[in-house]
Amino acid sequence: MTDDELVAGYLRRLKRASRRLPRPVRRELMEEITGHIAEARAAGGGPAGDDSAGDDSAVLRTVLEQLGDPRDIARAAAAGVRADRPGWREITAVALLLGGGLLGLAVGAIFSAGALTAIIFWLVGAVLLWSSPRWRLSDKILGSLV
């Protein structure tokens, strides 16, 4: 197997392992790993590596080995994307803050206490908003005002 085939095989495995990632995330990951391999090959395996002829394949194998299993890289990327997604707390807070007033009025009209119910819904939303670790203080103040 030639060096280029070795690289192509590695990138193919990474592409397959990362097929479930959002497209921009996957594209950036492929770009970065491709760039890393090119840089590492150009550097010849680091300052300690000698440049004797015929050692290129050994260098490349070390480079790919140090990068690790493509599946591990894809898993790390997927975990990062998952961690960025909003949880139930955020979704419920936004729903209650935005829709709470309307929903509260509708529910409350039946019991002729619309304003009170709307306020309760809004309060629950606000509590969730403030207890969420995901938003910054400025976002929280803005969210409550809206």
Binding site: G35, A38, Q66, G68, A76, A79, G80
Partner: protein, 119 residues
């Protein structure tokens, strides 16, 4: 719920390492911007810091999505353009918070471990 078993320490340490890695990256960018390969190689050369170099790239991408770093493309004399990573004000703030919390945790844990060792 959770039970500690012998041989589990290595696993726990690996998890801790994953937890502190983002802040190590931020610390490395504190004084100078770096491109991905350079950053990854520097981290990889620290004993026991990373297992697979490739997993650092998803971490860098996440730091950027969180606004803790920004990236710029810069021409390179050697080959294709490089993506440089630069710490943001939010990144510095996060690093500052971590630095404080880390010092406190380290001292507390050290205190307990040292007390255990004493005769």
């Amino acid at each position: 719920m959770y039970r500690m078993v012998a041989g589990d320490a290595a696993n726990q340490v690996a998890q801790m390492r994953r937890g502190v890695l983002p802040y190590c990256v931020l610390a490395m960018l504190r004084h100078t911007e770096q491109y991905g390969f350079e950053l990854v190689r520097a981290l990889g050369s620290i004993d026991g810091m990373v297992t697979g170099e490739g997993t650092i790239y998803p971490l860098l991408a996440r730091l950027r999505r969180q606004g803790l770093v920004v990236t710029t493309w810069q021409e390179s004399a050697a080959g294709p353009p490089r993506r440089y990573y630069q710490i943001t004000a939010a990144g510095r703030a996060a690093l500052g918070d971590f630095t404080q919390a880390w010092a406190q945790l380290r001292d507390s844990v050290d205190g307990l471990l040292d007390a255990e060792e004493a005769p």
